[in-house]
Amino acid sequence: MKNEVVNRKFITKSDIIIILIIVAIGFGIFLFNMNKNKEGDLIAVVTYEGEELYNIELDKVSEPYNIVINQEQNLVLAVDKGRIRYLSSNCYDQICVNSGWLDYYGDFAACAPFRSTISVEASGEGDGPDVMLN
């Protein structure tokens, strides 16, 4: 009778340890890859209506400047060394403008009414050109 109980036990202590080790390894690899990407320079990827418009290397910006994405919508970006933001927009909720400066890997802002996003990514391997201009 005692043996039967043991056989029916769904999971043992050693199983739990193995599972925890597997999860820890998986999560560790996940974090490693995330951190690896963070080592590059900050890149602001700006999209509008589903297409990438700009790919700005923020650390290389020497002077602040503005980018007008759409004149009618008054959708304007401000770009500064190491940071970027929505400067203005005629959108009704102003969430994009209120997002303020984006200056760290993973930062993100969107203007949903005008279908525009800014995401701050990191440069890394595989970021080379499609063709060279010789």
Partner: protein, 346 residues
């Protein structure tokens, strides 16, 4: 027991999911069709998205070959060869494409004060930079320079004539631009996106499958062919570069390159070592990259502005001037090689 195994497998798959997510960031979309073939005395690379990429690339290349037959100096029956052979004698009937290209060229010659002159052929022949390392005599250069004048190109409907014997059209630098414009039109008609690179001229149509911009490497003018000072991210535009690194020889510590100043008959000495021009037409980007290279920085900025073009101009002190329309589209990488980025205001 089987439940237990299922449970462990589920946990392993979950762990793999975590790692898989991080590894697949930024990937996606189908691989483009890519092909490089040779034409127009250079290489033609096409990179096309969509299933029918190969069919479109073939059609585009056929068109490039047709244009080569019209423009080549090395094909006896080409329009350009016929015009040159009949210089000072008679006008010759040519194709519509040749007339269009010549008219555009003459327009830019006019507004650039002759900085781009399509009749520079006799000077190119005299120097023969590709095969010679000798600097011609001053007298020879002065005599030959008398043959260089774009005002001597006479167009009457579908006929062209050069006014004086021994004058020569040099279509090398513009033929690639015209061909690139035609390839862009073929891509647009076929509804594909892609990049066509014909020598130093590139046409970009649309974006990649994932919506990202095409990335064009801008060469380090003092490095090797794969060394770059930055990357341009572009869509639906054309770009050309002229530089003193393409063909040259060095004599007595002086670099003699292949882009000539029609005012002096010598290789251009404007202070620029590379000029990259971005605009809607490849014909224009080709002409303007040469014209700006000859004009130098200050005059070039006005020329670019008047022609709705943007530019990356590099001077001999390794200053990289980028016009305001390229803000956010040019990723500068030249710091390590001693270049300095200067973003110009509009």
């Amino acid at each position: 027991m089987s439940k237990k195994i299922n449970c462990i497998i589920s946990v392993i798959l979950s762990a793999l999911f975590f790692t898989g997510c991080s590894l697949s960031v930024g990937k996606g979309g189908q691989e483009p069709f890519k092909e490089t073939v040779f034409a127009m005395d250079t290489y033609v690379t096409q990179l096309i998205y969509r299933d029918e990429g190969e069919v479109v690339a073939d059609k585009a290349f056929e068109r490039v070959a047709e244009l080569e037959d019209m423009f080549s100096l090395y094909i006896d029956n080409s329009d350009i060869s016929k015009i040159n052979a009949n210089a000072g004698k008679q006008s010759v009937k040519v194709n519509e494409e040749t007339i269009d290209a010549l008219e555009r060229t003459l327009h830019i010659s006019n507004i650039s004060g002759g900085a781009y002159d399509i009749t520079i052929g006799p000077i190119v022949l005299l120097w023969d930079i590709s095969n010679s390392t000798k600097v011609p005599s001053n007298d020879a250069i002065e005599d030959t320079l008398k043959l260089v004048d774009y005002n001597d190109v006479v167009i009457n409907d579908d006929e062209v004539m050069l006014n004086n014997k021994d004058q020569l059209l040099d279509f090398g630098s513009i033929g690639k631009g015209v061909a690139c414009d035609e390839v862009v039109e073929i891509y647009n008609d076929a509804g594909v996106s892609g990049v066509a690179s014909i020598g130093g001229t590139i046409g970009v149509v649309g974006t990649k499958d994932d919506g990202s911009l095409f990335k064009i490497g801008v060469r380090d003018p003092r490095g090797d062919a794969n060394s770059r000072i930055g990357i341009l991210s572009l869509k639906d535009t054309c770009v050309s570069t002229s530089g003193d690194y393409e063909r040259y020889f060095i004599s007595d510590d002086v670099r003699y390159h292949h882009i000539f100043d029609s005012a002096t008959g010598y290789p251009s000495d404007s202070g620029l070592i590379s000029s990259t021009v971005v605009t809607k037409s490849a014909t224009d980007s080709d002409i303007l990259s040469t014209a700006t290279f000859v004009l130098g920085l200050d005059k070039s900025l006005e020329l670019l502005k008047n022609n709705n073009a943007e530019g990356i101009l590099i001077d001999e002190d390794k200053n990289v001037y980028v016009t305001s329309g390229l803000n956010g589209l040019f990723k500068f990488e030249g710091e390590q090689m001693g270049y300095k980025l200067i973003q110009l205001e509009s």
